[in-house]
């Protein structure tokens, strides 16, 4: 059992669930705060160990399936429940367990000001979140996947709205929930339609059907498009991307978790798991929307002043990358980027969290020159940034290039061009953050921030701190926060160096999958690295050397900048549509209620009253009239008996 990857994966899956149950059921223990947190962390560590064991115990190409019958009906089981451990799912499992563990460790210090009950609640949600996401990763069938998928959505709702006393946080949580739900409806419809056609939820059986050519082509486009809709919602693809930047209202470690390992990666992972079903026309849509999302989010990221929002848009952008690769037919490339991105995005978010923790603000204008005050944080943040920009020897280099190569090899020239532009923008906006926050005018941001000390809008909520008391100088966070950063930075570097040196011959998990290999033209690597360096150079010129005035640059891109500052009015359009639709719908319903429902009732009651008035005149009260009535009635009765019944 212990060397069996399936069993280990199951242990990895169940440990967070146990932790959640303990915290959920034993309320006094949960409210005790730190002991609850330690429990959750220990279980997360165990889960990570089990996940690593499952991956190492898993042989090349081996698929371990551990499933129990579920939903028995007439002796036939409609679905099974269990774990499916193969190369991809165990790798993904490690990523989820690793990020969950590191984020929990980090949160212990980050949220040390929270009251104990809130801290316990936070860790309970975290454990449930890890369990849900692992459930998605290991699900052997679409039904179990969907259930865990919804649990993931629920947990993200709970964690984004962790500071539910803040109206913006509560609003953001609801927005995230509803927006992803819009996609989830599509996913559910898709799964049910697929079941009606094929009669199975099982991923393995579906794959067998596809390879044997048994899957009917008719309706498959619609079905897969519905499944894709679920991924659009979860993975924040255009046009359902609007919830992700708003989700920044949650605590920063939550953002790291959502962006790196759980939640948004679920969509990409779902497509990676089901991509064999997708016909070319739907894949084309996936690729184009992915590339478009990448570009849109990259442009938006360039104008954000909130460090977390920049990172949020960069996540949307990178998810677009992964989707484009999947759409091009090379889902392994997308999955590879998902893994590396998970590492360095967690690193970037936790790094940003350290900065926010030190400066007590999200706003870039409140920072500056932090490299001297928090050198370790600056170093790991730059490592993460270089990874994201796709510089050789860093984490995102090979995976990003794989995606660019994949789009070329998939003959998706349009998306490829978009992605190259995005690569430039990515390097630009990330280094804009680096220069503004860590270098820039030394300390100017800090002084600025002191003058803003009473501005409540830009503060992270810190109920235990008197806003008038002087804020201590920013410094590197304590070890409990630095350790996860260093681990992630080291892993990003290790993956980067390993993949750069060993290069394409690397038999790295998903790349080993048959059919995933593609030959990229020789100019691709220099081009990709070139645009990244160009982006860095531009950011350096604008924000460090200031040889190019940022205002002039902004003016040159006037209309785009204005549009980007308004998020391309997408939120406004949604609000407008919703407000208009709601108002119109309410008017119709109001009219129906007032005139149809009430009207019918009023008319009926008025009729009743007037008929009653009419009828009561018959009741004269005079005995003679009644006798008359009896006589006539009797006569009629007799006549009726005489003529009708004989």
């Amino acid at each position: 059992m212990m060397s069996d990857p399936g069993g280990l994966a199951l242990i990895a899956l169940l440990l967070p669930a146990v932790s959640f149950l303990i915290l959920a059921i034993v309320a006094p223990f949960r409210r005790s705060g730190r002991p609850a947190a330690f429990t959750s962390i220990i279980f997360a560590a165990g889960s990570l160990a089990a996940a690593i064991g499952a991956w190492r115990g898993h042989a090349e190409g081996q698929v371990t399936r551990l499933a129990w019958e579920w939903l028995p009906s007439n002796g036939v089981s409609i679905a099974s429940v269990g774990v499916l451990a193969d190369g991809d799912s165990t790798l993904m499992l490690i990523l989820v367990a690793l990020v969950a563990f590191l984020v929990q460790l980090y949160s212990l210090e980050y949220l040390h000001d929270e009251p104990p009950a809130a801290l316990g609640r936070y860790y309970a949600y975290h454990s449930l979140f890890a369990f849900s996401m692992m459930g998605v990763v290991l699900a052997p069938n679409l039904l179990q996947l969907f259930i865990n998928w919804e649990l993931v959505g629920l947990c993200s709702f709970l964690l984004i709205g962790f500071w539910y006393q803040k109206p913006e946080a509560a609003r953001a949580a609801v927005k995230a929930f509803w927006t992803t739900k819009a996609g989830d409806v599509g996913l559910l419809i898709g799964i049910v339609m697929l079941w009606r056609v094929t009669g199975t939820f099982d991923l393995g059986e579906l794959k067998t059907m596809v390879t044997s050519g048994a899957v009917p082509i008719e309706g498959l486009s619609l079905i897969t498009f519905c499944i894709y809709l679920g991924a659009v919602g979860k993975s924040a693809q255009f046009p359902l991307h609007t919830w992700l930047p708003d989700a920044m209202e949650g605590p920063t470690p939550v953002s790291a978790l959502i962006h790196a390992a759980t939640m948004v990666t679920a969509g990409v992972y779902l497509l990676h798991r089901t991509v064999f079903l997708f016909p070319p026309d739907v894949l084309m849509v996936v690729a184009w929307i992915g590339a478009f999302t990448a570009l849109l989010a990259a442009v938006l990221a360039c104008v954000q002043d909130d460090i977390k929002r920049v990172l949020a848009y960069s996540t949307v952008s990178q998810l677009g990358y992964m989707m484009a690769a999947i759409g091009a037919g090379f889902s392994a490339a997308g999955f590879f980027h998902l893994l590396t991105h998970g590492l360095f995005k967690a690193l970037l978010f936790l790094g940003a969290g350290a900065v926010i923790h030190a400066v007590h603000s999200n706003d870039l204008s409140h920072m500056g020159g932090l490299a001297k005050k928090m050198p370790q944080t600056a170093l790991v943040f730059v490592i993460g940034t270089l990874s994201l920009a796709g510089i050789p020897l860093f984490g995102g280099f090979l995976s990003k290039e794989e995606i660019l190569g994949a789009t070329l090899a998939g003959h998706q020239t349009g998306p490829f061009v978009l992605l190259i532009v995005v690569a430039f923008l990515t390097a630009f906006y990330m280094f804009r953050v680096v220069f503004l926050a860590f270098f820039g005018d030394q300390g100017s941001g800090i002084r600025d921030q002191r003058t803003h000390a009473l501005d409540p809008g830009s503060r992270i909520p810190d109920p235990h701190r008197d806003p008038r008391s002087p804020i201590p100088d920013p410094h590197d966070p304590p070890a409990a926060m630095m350790l996860p950063l260093w681990v992630l930075a080291a892993l990003s570097l290790a993956v980067g160096v390993y993949s750069t040196v060993v290069g394409r011959v690397l038999q790295f998990g998903p790349a080993a999958e048959a059919g995933a290999e593609h030959v990229a033209p020789a100019w691709l690597t220099p081009a990709a690295v070139g645009v990244a360096i160009a982006g860095i150079a531009l950011a350096w010129l604008v924000y460090q050397r200031r040889t190019i005035d940022a205002g002039k640059l902004a003016a040159a891109f006037g209309p785009i900048r204005t549009a980007a500052l308004h998020k391309f009015w997408i939120d406004d359009i949604y609000e407008g549509i919703l407000a208009f639709a709601l108002l119109a719908f309410s008017r119709i319903v109001g009219w129906l209620d007032r005139y149809l429902v009430d009207g019918v009732l009023n008319v009926v009651s008025a009729w009743t009253v007037s008929t009653g008035d009419l009828l009561r005149t018959v009741q004269t009260g005079r005995a003679q009239d009644y006798v008359y009535g009896v006589a006539v009635g009797l006569l009629i009765l007799l006549l009726w008996i005489r003529w009708a019944l004989t």
Binding site: R616, Q619, T620, G621, R622, A623, Q624, Y626, V627, Y628, A631
Partner: protein, 99 residues
């Protein structure tokens, strides 16, 4: 004369009685109408008794006459009471049954 003639007579008397009950304004007139109707029934009973050669009808008639007398006595007592209370015996003024 056959049975039919008696029956026609009874029906005629009954109708006259009913007409009186329905149309008379005076309560005593209504009582008279009721007496007529009852006696129409009596004619029927006696006629059937005669033509069927059974005594049942006769006995019924005797009972009916007794009851009619009692009814007339009670009816008149009621009319007198009614007059004492309402100071009228006109039937169309007695409409307190009206809802």
């Amino acid at each position: 004369m056959g049975l039919q003639a008696y029956l026609i007579l009874a029906a005629t008397v009954f109708c006259i009685g009913l007409f009186g009950v329905v149309t008379r304004r005076n309560t005593i007139g209504i009582l008279l109408g009721i007496e007529l109707m009852l006696n129409a029934v009596n004619i029927n009973l006696v006629a059937f008794s005669h033509f069927n050669a059974t005594a049942t009808g006769m006995i019924f008639t005797l009972f009916t006459i007794c009851i009619t007398v009692s009814e007339a006595a009670i009816g008149l007592a009621l009319v007198i009471l009614l007059f004492r209370v309402r100071r009228t015996v006109m039937a169309d003024h007695l409409d307190i049954l009206k809802g």
